[in-house]
């Protein structure tokens, strides 16, 4: 189970809090730690290896699922590309050229091996390499998602920490109210409102389009700013809430009381002890959010007329250019799985229990 460990961090809601003193000893007849604990470095390598294996398995299964789903699509790409009036022998020749005559396992293998070497096949509609079509567009969608991820984190962390440190106060209530709105707002509608205000009324930004990275880095960033903010705010609202509740959970832990007993103020205990522990579930959510941001980017691109993966994929769907759809979907899934792998590694950095074996 990669990356979503914290997701199951459903904290037993049935925990009995009634105080039967003394709490008495834990009855767990678990084998003592020393027996089951592998040595530090081996545990770390094992952890990374197991995550890598999991990454590879996820990629293989995902590619199989995508391939099979596209396989059941009705219609023959070759006849579709040549039109209804094509001669059967021309169609047959194109089928061979596209490799459609091979058996399914063979086609799957050649699709996968092609992707590994950067060959995504040939577009049915444009007869041009899919890799080239994806290439440029990826450099809009991916930076957009990462930009939004950075914004979301930058907004959510201070907001969540602020709210948790002023639990129940006016600041907390204000932040929580704002996040309640942020969660409910559809990002593409929010994007439209921002276009109305910042592009049409205030003219601070252009209403859409993308100048291209070759025209300068900051021009590209500026064009992506409104879309990134539209994407980031709703996710930041969710992340801020998670940050707050995770921090509050940690502030209720025994080790915070220990820290207070050695003379730390409430604020010091929060920053020095609660925060790092609270990061563990927050990391999970950041990993999950990346997949939402990537998908969200595809929608937001429509609002801002950005020539990203979204435009490509919707165009391809209407033209039944399935090989493009197949490749874009695989690419998105690849990005999500990879980010979750990185989150797994970040876990190990935060939590020594993973580094040295539990």
């Amino acid at each position: 189970m990669p990356s979503l460990r914290g997701m199951g961090y459903f904290i037993d809601s049935f925990t009995v809090t009634a105080c039967v003193i003394p709490r008495h000893r834990l009855r767990g007849d678990e084998p003592p730690c020393s027996i089951r604990k592998p040595t530090g470095q081996a545990a770390m390598i094992r952890y990374v290896l197991s995550r890598l294996t999991s990454l590879a398995i996820s990629l293989i299964v995902a590619s199989l699922v995508i391939f099979l789903v596209v396989e059941v699509a009705p219609g023959d790409p070759a006849s579709y590309m040549l039109g209804v009036n094509a001669r059967p022998d021309t169609v047959a020749a194109l089928r061979i050229e596209l490799g459609l005559d091979a058996s399914k396992p063979q086609r799957y293998l050649s699709w996968v091996s092609g992707m590994v070497t950067g060959d995504f096949g040939t577009s049915y509609t444009y007869r041009s390499p899919v890799a080239d079509m994806i290439g440029d567009r990826l450099w809009i969608s991916l930076p957009l998602a990462l930009y939004a991820l950075a914004l979301s984190t930058l907004i959510a962390f201070p907001a969540g920490i602020y709210a948790a440190s002023r639990r129940g106060g006016a600041g907390d209530t204000a932040v929580m109210g704002a996040t309640q709105l942020g969660i409910a707002i559809p990002n593409f509608w929010f994007a439209m409102l921002m276009v109305l205000v910042f592009a049409i009324k205030l003219r601070w930004f252009s209403a859409g389009g993308f100048p291209g990275w070759e025209r300068g880095f900051w021009g590209g960033i500026k064009a992506l700013t409104l879309p990134a903010v539209a994407l980031a705010l709703p996710q930041a609202a969710i992340l801020a809430r998670i940050m707050r509740s995770s921090l509050l959970d940690m502030l209720g832990e025994d080790f915070i009381r220990t820290a207070r007993a050695k003379g730390l103020s409430r604020r010091q205990a929060l920053w020095r002890h609660a925060l790092r522990n609270a990061l563990i579930p927050v990391l999970t959510i950041i990993g999950l959010q990346f997949s939402f941001l990537l998908a969200g980017a595809i929608i937001i691109e429509q609002v801002f007329f950005l020539p990203g993966l979204g435009r490509l994929v919707f165009q391809s769907i209407s033209q039944r250019d399935l090989i493009v759809v197949e490749s874009v979907v695989m690419l998105l899934v690849f990005a999500v799985i990879t980010v979750n792998f990185i989150v797994d590694l970040a876990y190990a950095a935060v939590d020594p229990r993973l580094r040295t074996g539990r």
Binding site: L4, G8, I57, I242, A295, Q302, I337
Partner: protein, 271 residues
């Protein structure tokens, strides 16, 4: 009763009632075009104004509520109907091969955001509300499966479950008799949240043309059509968006309120 629950239920009720009312009555027939009265601002005969075809926006929002609510509700039903039993079985067979299989499958689905599932499905079967339901529903399965498994695992370690096992009850029977009633609250709260996410997802899918198709009215499509008109008639884009915002807000407040009322310690999945 707490404040969140009251406000949330009221907001949600307004939109559910509007959707139900639209079956029997709407202010104007939305299939009749009235070009001379196009892009009328709110007020007078058309409370929320008219769109570029002169259709009454209030009537469209009311009818659109039907699509949004129905799609989201059925999708949550699919997610719960499949996810909860999967989660219960995974917990009952904890540590076993099937548990591993179910949880791996869940992780895999998490790698496909609902939009990506929708893209795949529409690429193959064509766009439509049913395919949107399937896409959102599939995405809901792992949410419920994971939540159920997590909660059920906590319970399986409890002494009262051990007592039931000592009383000779089977894992299936214990799941239904002891586990399910004890996680019901959590499922209700999570269901409310997934319902609100479903409404957002449906709007997004319809906006990019993967959801409800004409002539089925939908908030997302209204926004797509309004996009080019934002500068000349902002109200066309304002009201469908507000409808989404308020419905989702209502459902979220209701979820929070229900949680506070049933058990404030419940931890739900928010993503």
């Amino acid at each position: 009763m707490n404040r969140n629950l009251i406000i949330g239920t009221a907001l949600t009720a307004v939109f559910v009632l509007a959707a139900l009312l639209s079956f029997v009555w709407v202010p104007y027939d939305i299939e009749t075009l009235d070009i001379p009265n196009r892009l009328k601002p709110p007020g007078g005969a058309h409370w929320l104004g008219t769109d570029h075809f002169g259709r009454d926006i209030l009537s469209m929002v009311m009818t659109g509520a039907r699509t949004s609510i129905a799609v989201a509700l059925v999708a949550v039903g699919i997610g719960m109907g499949l996810g909860v039993p999967l989660g219960l079985s995974a917990a009952a067979l904890r540590g076993g091969g099937l548990d591993e299989f179910i949880m791996r499958g869940n992780d895999l689905i998490f790698a496909f955001p609902s939009l990506v599932i929708a893209i795949l499905i529409t690429a193959v079967f064509g766009p439509g509300a049913v395919n949107a339901i399937i896409a959102i529903g599939i995405f809901n399965i792992p949410v419920f499966a994971r939540l159920t498994r997590g909660a059920a695992l906590g319970l399986w370690g409890r002494d009262f479950i051990l007592a039931a096992r000592v009383a000779g009850k089977s894992a299936g029977r214990i799941s239904v008799e002891h586990i399910l009633p004890n996680i019901a609250n959590l499922m209700i709260v999570q269901g409310t949240i997934q319902f609100s996410l479903g409404i957002l997802a449906e709007a997004g899918l319809s906006y990019v043309g993967l959801g409800a198709q004409p002539p089925m009215p939908s908030w997302g499509r209204m926004l797509a059509e309004a996009q080019t008109l934002v500068s000349i008639a902002p109200h066309v884009a304002l009201f469908p968006g507000l409808a989404i915002l308020l419905t989702v807000l209502g459902l979220n407040l209701m979820g929070d309120g229900l949680r506070d009322m049933l058990d404030p310690r419940l931890r739900v999945i928010r993503a």
